[in-house]
């Protein structure tokens, strides 16, 4: 049982969920995730940590409402309790001084890229943060990201910001302009991460992605989260979720994400 300290919708469909977990913040690193289960009937679902505070002993995740389980959480309020909030899980990202690092986030990944940018900055990198959304009204945490980035670039597909397009388009421009990039990190929807990986492939820029497969336990016990990397099966929850974007079998990932499509529809219609 963990108490919700705050739950706010920051932009349509995205909620910041802050949960009390007193001894977790001291253990968290960029790239970790937690598993949360709303109530007795709930599913265990993974969420990446977007921020944490040792003083108040709280952990914040950016939650994108997708189906039944994320909706349940989105409908909970400060003072309510989630029945399970377990972590840190997964391998944290490798943080060191690489030079220039591009951090790309979209949807919930705008939140989860924040600790990455923060840690990369603290390690002495030049940090270029790219975020994308359909429109300006879906962008959040601009201030926080600006603080931890040398450059923040916002792309929108409706053109409500100066740059119209996606993170991958923005990144392509950077590469074409001769920006020397030593590493790219992408977090958010599968489409964006795959797209970014394709963009950096020709120039062979090391690219890390944080895969969001279906998960059940999140501790390496079930294999629901299997992905193929470099032709080998890996468990995203313990071998990842951070992987080399150029080695991931993206087609398989897309297929496996659809495994429960039918049941998800039933659950949503309930």
């Amino acid at each position: 049982m963990n108490k919700i300290a705050a739950r706010d919708m920051v932009v349509p469909n995205i909620h910041l969920l802050t949960v009390e977990a007193p001894d977790m913040p001291g253990k968290l690193r960029a790239g970790h995730f937690i598993m949360v289960k709303a109530d007795e009937f709930g599913e265990r679902i993974p969420l990446t940590v977007a921020d944490w505070d040792e003083q108040s002993g709280t952990v914040t995740c950016a939650l994108m409402q997708a189906g039944r389980s994320t909706r349940k959480l989105a409908e909970m309020n400060a003072g309510d309790c989630v029945s399970t909030f377990v972590g840190p899980l997964g391998k944290p990202l490798q943080i060191e001084k690489f030079g220039t690092v591009v951090c790309a986030g979209g949807c919930y990944g705008i939140g989860s890229i924040y600790p990455v940018a923060r840690a990369m900055k603290a390690a002495g990198n030049r940090v270029i943060t790219l975020i994308e959304a359909r429109g300006r009204y879906l962008v959040y945490w601009e201030d926080k990201l600006r603080e931890t980035s040398d450059v923040l670039m916002v792309s929108t597909s409706d053109g409500s910001t100066p740059f119209r397009g996606r993170n991958s388009d923005r990144l392509r421009v950077l590469i074409e302009d001769g920006e020397e990039i030593h590493r790219v990190i992408a977090m958010g929807c599968t489409f964006m991460m795959a797209d970014i990986s394709e963009t950096t492939r020709p120039a062979e820029i090391p690219t890390r992605v944080s895969l969001n497969t279906v998960m059940v336990d999140g501790t390496g016990m079930c294999g629901a989260c299997r992905v193929e990397v470099d032709g080998n099966t890996r468990f995203a929850c313990v071998d990842g979720p951070d992987f080399d974007g150029h080695a991931v079998n993206w087609d398989l990932l897309r297929i496996r994400r659809r495994a429960y499509y039918h049941q998800e529809t039933i659950s949503e219609e309930r």
């Binding site: 289960k37 399970t84 016990m221 294999g223 297929i255 495994a259 049941q263 039933i266």
Partner: protein, 471 residues
Amino acid sequence: MAKVSPKKTPMREQDPQVRIDNFEEVPFGYSEEEAMIEAARCLQCKKPLCMQGCPVEIDIPGFIMHIAEGRFQEAVVTLKKKNVLPAVCGRVCPQEEQCEKLCVLGKKFEPVAIGRLERFSADWEASRGEAPLPRKKKSTGKRVAVVGSGPAGITVAGDLIQRGHRVTMFEALHEAGGVLVYGIPEFRLPKKIVAREVNHVVRMGVKLVMDRVIGTIETVDELLEQYDAVFLGTGAGLPWFLNIPGENLNHIYSANEYLTRANLMKAYLFPEYDTPIFRGKRVATIGGGNVAMDSARTALRLGAAQSIIIYRRSRQEMPARLEEIHHAEQEGVDFRLLTNPVAFHGDETGFVKEVECLRMELGEPDASGRRRPVPVEGSNFRITVDSVVISIGNSPNPLIPNTTPGLETGKWGNIQIEETTGKTSKKGVFAGGDVATGAATVISAMGAGRRAARAMHEYLVTGRWEPQETS
């Protein structure tokens, strides 16, 4: 003495046609009268062979005599001296390989139904309300961390709290019980029985902390700063796959995933519970152990018209308990023996639709003494399926070994221990159960827990950590 009946007193059970539509327990258990009749079959041997087959040395003729005399409470007391989880063991132990295998009656007739009598005693006690708590020794002021709440962890926690130590048990999942809650299905081991056993150690004073993955939130070294000794009973939870083409197609599950969804997450009650499971119509389970039987029988209960077991050896080599194989057969599970999968084929959207197999023949015995299956060249054929459950074994999760310097592991990632004490290569750290042996049995995990608890107590009291025997 009256003539001994050649057969075990039958245990009433749900009709196979009815039970494949529900998740309720299959056997009903003995009534008091049936138990007394069965107990009377025991010859009360002077040198009871049965006890040699029992990994925890239960006084078998002793508890059976109490039942025969109708002194049920005493039967429970006798059992619990050696076995803290009789309600579980009575249901899941492979008795035909242990006590009942050696029972003298078995030479001519069916052996005494020791497992059923064990189960009866434990259930009888449960029907009287909460079990009385054993007396605790005076507090020693020592603190113990138990990691994992499976049968090994529960045994250690129960034994050490009775000896006056302060015990905290950590569990990664949101429910305690290990495989007993996430793996073994409700129809074989009702979850309320496991909850009762866990509750029993909590009532004795064990502090249970759920949702805590040791190795990440806290390392073993960090535990050692706060506790005087640590026991690792983290099981063998890492599922193996076959490593054959097509294995990552949709609707191909590990048994752990399939059973965890069904049991722990209660997907069989979807959509009342949120976790989904695919209710396949033609389900193939690969493997021949208890886990495979549980998966194949779960598939039937989830509505499969055909539940197939694919096993590469013959019926004789199947490691599952006899009763599970019988039950699976009664329920209509279709056994395809001497058959080995070589590939999975999917449809254009990535869902499995066929298992390609090879026929096998039995060759020379291998290292395990079982005859080695050898493929028949060119015998490939395909079985149409809409889902597959892979149940070919598990090994220990590497999380703790990877985060614990100085903890030695073997070839399969199993933690190396001194057999008689559970001591690991790291001072103050003990281990036992599946994490040390690889996937085994409930009773062997309990036995290991018991041995470790004894050694831990001694270590806690004397502070002596003898050099580990090198073997």
